[in-house]
């Protein structure tokens, strides 16, 4: 490791002037990074880690953003004081960036070729042919098969992982000295994440890149960085080389982050699932293939997505069953079709002895109170125009579990259950944080005291620490109310923490199932092994 600093940031302070007054995004941040190093910046969303890096390249929208003070010496010149046209020469050429969501970061209207080549064309003096050749070369390097043809395709023809590879290629094209990767894998599936991470690591080694790696996932940071920077609410909390930080953190916040990383198995509970008794829910080779309508302005375009084919699973009373798989593996479809949000084509869903797949109308309406769902996105799953009280009271009143006099007491009870302050029941969803919203959603789900709860990725949209809290809550509730839960997730570590048994799905089929720990101990299928391997280790 060479010693002189490639980039050294001093007393950076960034503020945003929003409608509701000024907010400080980055407060007096100083750090430096040496050539060839990988610096991991860790923190939850809102910790200002991204803003700090964007401001280096002048990418924060100004206004409302404003860099109030600080210097950022890069090869001796202060980035923060560079005029725009000078800054352009730096971008991509000297300092390149990879962004979080590959789906939105590529221009949908341009061919990959043009988007790649223009980097070279604006920064280096080479002609189109050379540029194209170079582009293809790099695409191959980032692991895009038959790049020569694919380079002429449009972004929508690439999968998420592939797009992120393209983004990386784009970043590396002009051979920058510093690469800033902003949560490059957060939006991706675990297995894909693993691939991308290893790709970046290899490239870094091969090219002796200097990398700033922004993430909220300590596991990822540990894996990638040799030097870590922990941020909270725009302030620097702690920094040091990865080992020391993770072995013996000094700051409580760091500890909190560390504790949030799930490594433990499900703690044994006093009551154990009785597998002798007939299962509460019996799904017999269920088949859900539905036409997906890509609604365009002229004609709805029909394409058949095979959601679930011939899946059979059992779910026993008081059991928490983990349903694991990547996006598109059909796990959510399965969940939704069980509670009849989607109709199934074939197979039966026997719940408490009666087949749900056939009932309709009033009987279905009544059956619904037996099973509830917790959704992934806490922002979308609550009606923004109803107060917490209304949200929670509605099901109770509709199903006559409460009358106007008793409803308030019950609602308050629910608030207590999910650990929300009773005082908040008159507030609206947008006034809560993501974690709190998810608590509300959970409260709504358990309001009807359902026999079965289906939780669809309830924590994947949350920050690590919040995630930990919500999981803890779910665990507590399942044990307190002896809930039976189908827990859908793509994250093995999460599932391990919560579930008694695991079903692994791939491409709409069940590939493996078993008791959690035994499955972790000895995964049979290669796919399962991949999933396990994908868990970032500390």
């Amino acid at each position: 490791m060479t010693s002189e600093a490639l980039l050294s940031v001093e007393n950076l302070r960034v503020v945003f002037n929003t409608r509701n007054g000024q907010t400080v995004a980055v407060e007096d941040l100083s750090f430096s990074i040496n050539r060839g190093d990988v610096l991991g910046i860790v923190g939850e969303s809102g910790s200002g880690k991204s803003v700090a890096c964007y401001s280096l390249l002048g990418l924060i929208p100004m206004p409302p953003g404003k860099i109030e003070s600080g210097r950022a010496l890069f090869n001796g010149q202060d980035l923060l004081s560079l005029p725009e046209n000078e800054m352009r020469k730096i971008r991509a050429h000297k300092i390149a960036m990879i962004f979080q969501d590959p789906m939105t970061c590529l221009n949908p209207y341009m061919r990959i070729a043009d988007q790649l080549m223009e980097v070279l064309l604006v920064h280096t003096a080479i002609n189109k042919q050379q540029a194209r050749a170079k582009a293809i070369e790099v695409l191959v390097e980032v692991g895009i098969q038959n790049a020569a043809e694919r380079i002429d395709q449009y972004p929508h023809q690439f999968s998420g992982g592939m797009r992120q590879r393209v983004m990386i290629a784009m970043a590396l094209l002009a051979e920058p000295e510093l690469l800033i990767a902003d949560e490059p894998t957060t939006a991706l599936d675990v297995t894909v994440q693993a691939q991308i991470l290893s790709l970046i690591k290899n490239l870094q080694r091969k090219r002796q890149l200097t990398v700033i790696f922004i993430t909220h996932d300590l596991g990822v940071a540990a894996q990638m960085a040799n030097h870590v920077l922990v941020m909270e609410k725009g302030k620097l909390v702690e920094q040091g080389d990865t080992q020391s930080i993770f072995k013996n953190p000094t700051q409580p916040y760091t500890k909190k982050l560390l504790s949030a990383v799930l490594t433990t198995a499900k703690p044994a509970s006093e009551h154990s699932v009785d597998y002798k008794r007939p299962p509460l829910l019996e799904v017999k080779d269920l088949e859900v293939g539905f036409p997906a309508y890509t609604g365009t302005l002229f004609q709805r375009i029909k394409s058949v997505v095979k959601g679930v084919d011939h899946v059979s699973i059992n779910l026993y009373e008081g059991e928490v069953l983990g349903l694991v798989g990547e996006s598109g593996s059909g796990k959510s479809t399965l969940g939704r079709s069980i509670i009849r949000l989607i109709d199934s084509q074939a197979g039966e869903i026997v719940f408490n002895g009666k087949d749900l797949s056939t009932i309709t109308g009033e009987s279905l309406k009544n059956a619904r109170r037996e099973f509830q769902m917790i959704f992934q996105d806490p922002y979308a799953s609550l009606n923004p125009r109803m107060t917490v009280f209304d949200t929670l009271a509605e099901p109770l009143l509709v199903h006559g579990l409460a009358n106007k006099s008793t409803v308030l007491e019950q609602v308050n009870q629910l608030m207590d259950d999910v650990g929300l302050d009773r005082r908040f029941i008159r507030k609206y969803p947008h006034e809560f944080s993501g974690g709190q919203r998810q608590r509300i959603a959970i409260a709504r789900a358990i309001a009807l005291k359902p026999k079965l709860i289906i939780a669809d990725e309830p924590v994947s949209a949350l920050d690590v620490t919040i995630r930990a809290q919500i999981l803890a809550l779910l665990l507590k509730l399942t044990q307190k109310h002896k809930l039976t839960m189908l827990f859908i997730s793509h994250d093995m570590s999460v599932v391990r923490y919560l579930c008694d048994r695991i079903v692994v799905m791939q491409k709409g089929k069940v590939v493996e199932e078993g008791i959690t720990e035994s499955l972790f101990a000895a995964p049979q299928q290669s796919y399962t092994q991949q999933l396990l391997a994908a868990i970032p280790k500390l």
Binding site: L341, N366, M373, L382, V388, R423, Y428
Partner: protein, 296 residues
């Protein structure tokens, strides 16, 4: 929006601010929009009070006087029959605003219902309903209204209906789009999975959430409706004499703009200011209701 329930310890409760309240708060910060709003309110008040506060009677003629420029007696001058223009404009505002609001209301009702049903029911119903909208879009509508008024005589009621019939199409499309978008939102799925009735889902979960864009579009529809009325008046298909609307005033003002420019200027001015106000208000509302804004 929230059901009113007696809550004993209401005092200790933290009262939440609904999106609507947020929006209003933001709107108040928008000076232009508020300016527009106040102007419109003032206008409406004046329009309502006109019969009592108007300086003259709107049909009272002074043939000897004829068309006279603004003066102490007639602040905005008089028209060729010597009628006080200020009065005419005040009475005109009654009709123009009425047309603006009522016709828009017609469009709103039809459009929202049509769009919401098509969007929520979906499937074949949706397809058919939207085909019909397309069909109506294909009619050259300005002409169609002329035809209507020619055929059935120009009554105010017809005016409302005819104009409403033109404007509801876009409204329907907007609402449908919104409903489709919101239908996919998880809180609707949640509502379904809680076993709520479709009626309740539409009324409590869908409609409240499409209101935003609808309101915005409404404020932008009113101006175009007022213009449409003026256009019909220009064709002599507007309202009946001696009653006046801004449209009819402008239409006859254009003919004489060289001789008696004030007969075009003042009605034109008031119309323009009104439309500006409506537009400002509309833009203000759009910003205020912007969901992205309500996140930060």
């Amino acid at each position: 929006m929230s059901e009113v329930i007696k809550i004993p310890e209401l005092s200790q409760l933290e009262k939440g601010r609904s999106l609507t309240q947020d929006a209003l708060a933001r709107l108040r910060k928008n000076r232009m929009a508020m300016l527009g709003l106040y102007f419109l309110l003032a206008l409406i008040v004046i329009a309502l009070l006109t019969p009592w506060i108007a300086p003259y009677s709107y049909e009272e003629q002074n043939l000897e006087l004829g068309a006279s420029p603004p003066s102490a007696q007639h602040w905005l001058g008089t028209d060729i029959l010597g009628r006080d223009q200020l009065t005419r404009i005040m009475y005109g505002s009654r009709i123009s605003l009425a047309v603006g609001f009522i016709a828009t209301a017609v469009a709103l009702t039809i459009g929202v219902l049509w769009g919401a049903i098509a969007g929520f029911v979906g499937g074949r119903t949706d397809a058919v309903m939207m085909r019909i909208v397309d069909a109506l879009y294909a009619l050259p509508f300005t002409i169609f209204i002329i035809l209507l008024t020619v055929v059935f005589g120009s009554s105010l009621l017809l005016l409302f209906l005819a104009i409403g019939a033109v404007e509801w199409l876009t409204m329907a499309r907007i609402v449908r789009g919104q409903v489709l978008a919101i239908k996919r939102q998880e809180f609707v799925e949640a509502a379904i999975s809680m076993g709520l009735s479709p009626a309740r889902i539409v009324s409590r979960h869908l409609i409240p959430n499409v209101l935003g864009p609808v309101i915005v579009y409404t404020t932008l529809t009113i101006p175009s409706v007022i213009l449409l009325e003026s256009f019909l008046s220009f064709l002599g298909l507007g309202i009946q004499p001696p009653a006046s609307s801004w449209g009819s005033l402008i239409a006859s003002g254009v003919e004489v703009m060289e001789e008696y420019v004030w007969l075009l200027f003042f009605p034109g001015l008031i119309l323009t200011i009104t439309l500006f106000s409506l537009n400002f208000l509309g833009d203000g509302l759009r910003d205020a209701l912007d969901p992205r804004a309500s996140r930060d």
